[in-house]
Amino acid sequence: MIQMRKVSKSYGGAVKAVDSIDLDVRRGEIFGFLGPNGAGKTTSIKMITGILTPDSGDILVNGRDIRKEALAVKRSFGFVPDDPNIFPRLKAIEYLRFMGDIYQVPTDRRRERIQELTERFSLDEALTDRIQSYSHGMRQKLMIIGALLHDPELWILDEPMTGLDPKSAFVLKEMMRTQADSGKTVFFSTHVLDVAEKICDRVAVIDRGRILFCGSIGDMQRQFRQDGSLETMFLELVNHSETAGDPA
């Protein structure tokens, strides 16, 4: 579903935020993108969604290059950013209507989706309020609803669990599973290793712009020859990368 080939990106020409990475996200899987702060997760996601242009390399979404078939690619995914502070002066229902119109969601389907999603995320009693009056978690939920309104083939979520209450986090995880089981794809970045461990079919660990590992949790355990938790293996990977990257 997502293919990245030798993709690099640097800011200001000096530090490489993403350094020649290769990544394959398959259709029908939940793929977790893990890494410490500043590892290159958000930069990678921004390149996949077309917010940033890679310095080199190719990115294909569902076999299409976003630089060549921008609108078709953009219609195929729903994106939830790491910062949910969008259009605070609009009312929630106005934002959803905006998303519905932009993604051309048919009227009947739209009503159904708004009702279903707002009830699941307990926002149905706050739709007439301005986003400005929402808490961080409520904004996050609204962003998720907006991104899923057109029922996209691919979900791209940047730190989606941040600020969510336990019930909403559970609902989201459940929806991710249902989505993947129905043949669609979920690609998300997270710091919460427990979540990744529980729901991801495969994960990639990125640090200092390089992919350190890509595979299932089982693959990782086999590689490390241990039955440790994802957290233990993640820390070992990242520490090893830091030691290898540090000048002696």
Binding site: L90, I93, E94, I102, I114
Partner: protein
């Protein structure tokens, strides 16, 4: 006092240009281009002000009235500082993003206000340096004033904006004191802005009309010498007459005394403002950004309505219009400003129309001039109408800040499945709507008062499309190169955004290039309408072609 200075330094550091487009070398090149453009604009505006004031000087000097110039420019400066000050003060004191960070700190209200006043004053000085200082320097050069004049001019320049800015601050603090009582704070804040602006305009024009003189007075004043006229024009604000005195008094000692009085009044104004800040500021600013929530479930009818599909273009347009109207800073600076200039143009006309004798005759004279299809009056009125359309469209800053207003959420424009061209056209259309409304207001009043023949009224309408489209499209170019996306508060996107100034300069330049030949060649009304109306549409078409060509590259280069 130490806190005040520290805070002012922090606020100054935070009020940089923050321009972003691309990265690395490309960004440096963009910033260099921006600096060059800024210098060009500064020189261009200073040149225009200097040239026009030199012309005015020779006109006045022929009648020995040259001292009048000082009073005129100083009072114009104080009025500008006061009116712009109202908008600045509301935004900077109450709606900037730093308020919520400052309120929990152990700072006194007057320390916050003092620091914010300093930042506001810096921008006012910039306006004065471009609009008022050049004419006063020209006066000094042409009147062969000595070094003393320029020394006193420096003192006057530093003190001039203090009183009007303090008055604007006091007026705003007084009105905003009642914010916590309002249920819908955003709406109250907007109404407060409008009320403050109306009060300010009423104050300015009220005092001006008190100082107005009829033909009999004028004769007496001329005989009494030009200095007394200068005093008449400076009754608007306390202290302005001392500023005039500091530059026109016959000897250095008297000039020094006048400057001392100005300093005294300015200091008193600052002290009173600080005192008022202690009494009123916290009571008004606490909770100013809070938004009321009703937490109400949508009825099935409402859900049906909300769920109805619509055009992506109009939804996008509506989103932009809603944000413009609902965000107090955008509303004050872009929407309200749009209707402020028409009031400037129209109010003097209304007051003179209400007058008797000479002023009533003036309206009759204008009506006569407009009725003749071959006369210069009709042609000139078309030029004026066109220039007003360009001016209002160029100064409201809506298209000129269309990308900057998105701020950090600019990335939304990149991820939604709507072509960049359609998004930009939706944004320009929002600018067109407000420009049209702002331009129609003085036009309708002009039709009501001047009662032009139908063919001329239609001619006025005919020059509008180009006069509105051309500046709105032109203003967008700067945003594509230097969008100001990294800001903590909305003020920076619209007021501390040089693209708005560039857009205004381009609008005025293009207006001058089209209207200038029409006036210089003495074209008839039909010829003028063709040249400016059609010419501006041709320019707009060229702008569309260029925009379409550069858009993909420029948009891709903008990396939030």
């Amino acid at each position: 006092m130490t806190n005040l200075v520290r805070l002012a330094v922090v606020l100054f550091r935070g009020s940089g240009t923050g321009i972003t487009a691309g990265s690395g070398r490309r960004r440096k090149r963009s910033q260099l281009g921006n600096i060059l453009l800024f210098l060009f604009l500064g020189i261009y505006m200073v040149g225009i002000m200097s040239a026009s004031s030199a012309g005015l000087y020779s006109l006045l000097a022929a009648n020995g009235l040259q001292d009048l110039m000082i009073g005129l420019y100083l009072s114009m400066g104080t009025v500008l500082v006061f009116l712009f000050g109202i908008l600045y003060v509301i935004s900077v004191f109450y709606f900037t993003g730093d308020i919520e960070k400052l309120l929990p700190l152990p700072l006194q209200a007057d320390e916050i206000i003092g620091a914010k006043l300093a930042v506001t004053a810096a921008w006012e000085y910039l306006y004065l340096a471009v609009l008022v200082l050049p004419p006063l320097v020209v006066f000094g050069i042409l009147s062969q004033a000595g070094a003393g004049y320029f020394l006193f001019l420096a003192g006057v320049f530093l003190l001039l904006p203090v009183v009007p800015l303090c008055l604007a601050s006091m007026l705003v603090m007084l009105i905003m004191r009642f914010t916590p009582l309002a249920r819908n704070k955003d709406r109250f804040n907007m109404v407060s802005g409008i009320l403050a602006m109306l009060l300010a305009l009423g104050f300015v024009f009220g005092t001006q009309s008190m100082a107005r003189f009829d033909e009999m007075d004028l004769a007496q004043i001329i005989s009494a010498g030009s200095a007394s006229i200068a005093k008449l024009t400076t009754t608007v604000f306390p202290g302005t007459s001392f500023a005039v005195g500091a530059l026109t008094a016959p000897d250095a000692l008297q000039q020094l005394a006048q400057l001392g009085l100005l300093l005294l009044i300015a200091s008193a104004a600052v002290l009173v403002t600080f005192r008022m800040a202690r009494l009123l500021y916290f009571k008004g600013v606490v909770g100013v950004g809070a938004s009321a929530a009703r937490r109400r479930r949508l009825s099935s009818a409402e859900l049906s309505k909300a769920g109805q599909g619509g055009s992506a273009f109009w939804t996008y347009w509506l989103k932009d219009v809603r944000i413009l109207i609902r965000t107090p800073v955008f509303f004050m600076n872009n929407v309200l400003m749009n209707f402020l200039w028409p009031v400037f143009f129209v109010l003097p006309m209304l007051t003179s129309a209400g007058g008797s004798g000479g002023s009533g005759a003036l309206i009759e004279l204008a009506r006569g001039a407009l009725a003749d299809p071959d006369g210069r009056g009709a042609a000139l009125s078309l030029v004026i109408c066109f220039v007003i359309a360009c001016f209002i469209s160029g100064t409201n800053g809506i298209s000129e800040s269309a990308l900057s207003r998105e701020g950090e959420t600019f990335y939304i424009m990149k991820i939604i499945p709507m072509s960049w061209w359609r998004q930009i056209m939706a944004k320009v259309t929002a600018g067109l709507l407000f420009s049209l409304a702002g331009t129609l207001l003085p036009l309708v009043l002009a039709v009501a008062f001047l009662r032009p023949p139908a063919w001329l009224a239609l001619g006025w309408l005919a020059v509008l499309p180009g006069g509105i489209l051309m500046p709105n499209l032109g203003g967008f170019f700067f945003e594509l190169f230097w969008p100001k996306l990294h800001w903590e508060h909305e003020q920076k996107a619209v007021k501390q955004n040089l693209n708005v100034l560039y857009g205004m300069a381009l609008a005025l330049l293009l207006a001058a290039l089209l209207a200038g030949p029409a006036v210089a060649l003495g074209l008839s009304a039909a010829g003028t309408a063709l040249l400016v109306g059609l010419g501006s549409l041709v320019v707009a078409a060229a702008e569309i072609v260029i925009l379409r060509r550069i858009l993909p590259g420029r948009f891709a280069a903008i990396e939030p």
